[in-house]
Symmetry: C2
Subunit: 310 residues, 2 copies
């Protein structure tokens, strides 16, 4: 049992009340606040200097990434964002102009997705910038797409390309909110998650919540050019497929739906979102764990998702 497992176990007995439709463990909490046709989503997500961005990262990009990451969790529930709060831990004497630039970086993202920034807090974190976003959103009642609905026989899809995000793409997260809305409106999506820890790790979350396993097809995994280039440039870099499975910070959608929907989905998506790749990477199977099929046959996937404490 790793540290995350322990924390997860400890947080299972947390205080609850009758507003809670879905508590700890999904991309967002789902709350019932007394609106007949809606439920509400509640989520926080933090980025930390030296972990999620570097000391010399442009402050506008820090702001963009922080808000976009949090919105990606709203997308993963097929939700719509409403309002955000910004918590900024800053070293003493941090340049106020840099704070302004962090906020400036959030503004276009907030405008694009209709999010109000309604306040927040500035406090001291002496060694590094710590930026947490709290988000409130909504979904039509009963329509939040959880991690727990994957069924044996489902096809597994991912948007975009995976791996090598840290070479730059992670600063330009594009929350897949429009895509998720379209999916939820036109298909019976069984389970969805956004890829933050890496395909292998995040798929495992879906499988564990759903009590099923998965078989992936190695040649189908959409490996990013950044991951291929990194592997070419250095023999010590991860092989491209491993990078796509484990790098993390992709912020793409991973979802499952009945395999009979696969063809209409691919056709409709291509028309709606011609610039965003959509790939079927495998299928949900009975059992547990992930296997991957390549030239050598079918192997158990032992690679882990990106783990924050590693």
């Amino acid at each position: 049992m790793d540290e995350f497992e322990l924390i997860r176990k400890l947080t299972r007995s947390l205080p609850t009340n009758d507003t809670v439709a879905t508590g700890v463990g999904d991309d967002c909490a789902v709350l019932d606040l007394g609106v007949p046709d809606r439920q509400f989503l509640f989520k926080t997500d933090a980025v930390v200097e030296g972990i999620h961005f570097l000391p010399d990262t442009a402050p506008e990009k820090i702001g963009h990434k922080a808000l976009a990451r949090a919105l990606s969790d709203i997308a993963a529930m097929a939700g719509t964002p409403i309002a955000a709060l910004v918590t900024l831990g800053l070293p003493k004497k941090f340049d106020p102009e840099r704070v302004a630039a962090i906020y400036q970086g959030m503004k276009p993202v907030a405008d694009k997705f209709g999010v109000a920034i309604v306040g927040g807090e500035t406090t001291t974190n002496p060694e590094r910038v710590f930026l947490s976003i709290a988000l409130l959103g909504w979904v039509p009642r009963g329509k939040a797409v959880l991690r727990s609905g994957a069924k044996a026989g489902d096809a597994i899809f991912v948007s975009g390309d995976l791996g090598g995000s840290l070479s730059g793409r992670h600063l330009e997260v594009e929350p897949r909110i429009a895509e998720a809305h379209w999916l939820a409106r036109h298909f019976h999506v069984h389970a969805m998650i956004d890829l933050s820890d890496g395909l292998a790790g995040d798929l495992r979350h879906v499988l564990q919540h759903s009590g099923v396993g998965a078989e992936l097809l190695a040649t189908s995994i959409p490996v990013s050019r950044a991951a291929r280039q990194a592997a070419k440039a250095s023999t010590s870099a991860k092989p491209p497929l491993l990078a796509a499975l484990t790098d993390g910070e992709d912020f793409e959608l991973l979802f499952t739906l009945p395999s009979r929907s696969a063809v209409p989905l691919l056709d409709g998506w291509k028309e709606q979102f011609p610039k965003v790749k959509l790939t079927c990477i495998g299928k949900v199977v009975a059992g547990e764990g992930i296997t991957i099929r390549d030239q050598q046959g079918v192997r158990k996937l032992s690679a882990h998702g990106y783990v924050h404490f590693a």
Copy 2:
């Protein structure tokens, strides 16, 4: 213009939408989510190791303080909490048992006030624990008590004793939610805030938002025993009155209401909350700034509230 002023100025032009009834600048944001008789409160509040607690502070007390502080902001709007998210930035190899103990410290506070803890996040903050609480709450529609309603002629009240909180009381914050509900139900409270930065600083927030000034009576300020003892123990400590005005971290309620309500308020409060002191400390006046009346006459109060970047 200090750094906070600049940040405040910069955040005034933030993205908004039609859910926002009150945005940046009050104890909580007030949101309209489509419930006819309710509005919702949204707030984050962070505590940081070495700033708001010490490395050797018992982890249960850290959890208690973090959640109770955030609830104090809900109290300051006369609201009721619903659900909380916990963001924990932790040094690598932080003992999971200490994480469990932080959560354990939150549990009795959450239970007492009916708050569900619906998730959160654990990330890395290498040098120190950074703990932010995001809270959602509600108020009857139109009944959130803002900072902006103080009127010349109002009497100014504070609950509890002030100053010297850092000697221990700050770890035992008691959110004044029941008191705030009772106040809002029985009196026309014009303005309210919770005391986090110190009486002088927080009263100034109310006055600036309301476009008025205040005259305090020095002998009325309820100075805590801790502040008196600290002054007695060391000649380098703040004089007790200054401590009560500027120490911060009191988490008591400061509010104003028509002076004709002062006597029924004091009588009713004593009956309802016999263990919590309530004191009239002065009055709201036309103009701006704070004056304080003592044996030497009336002086302008130049002392600042506790400023995080000082």
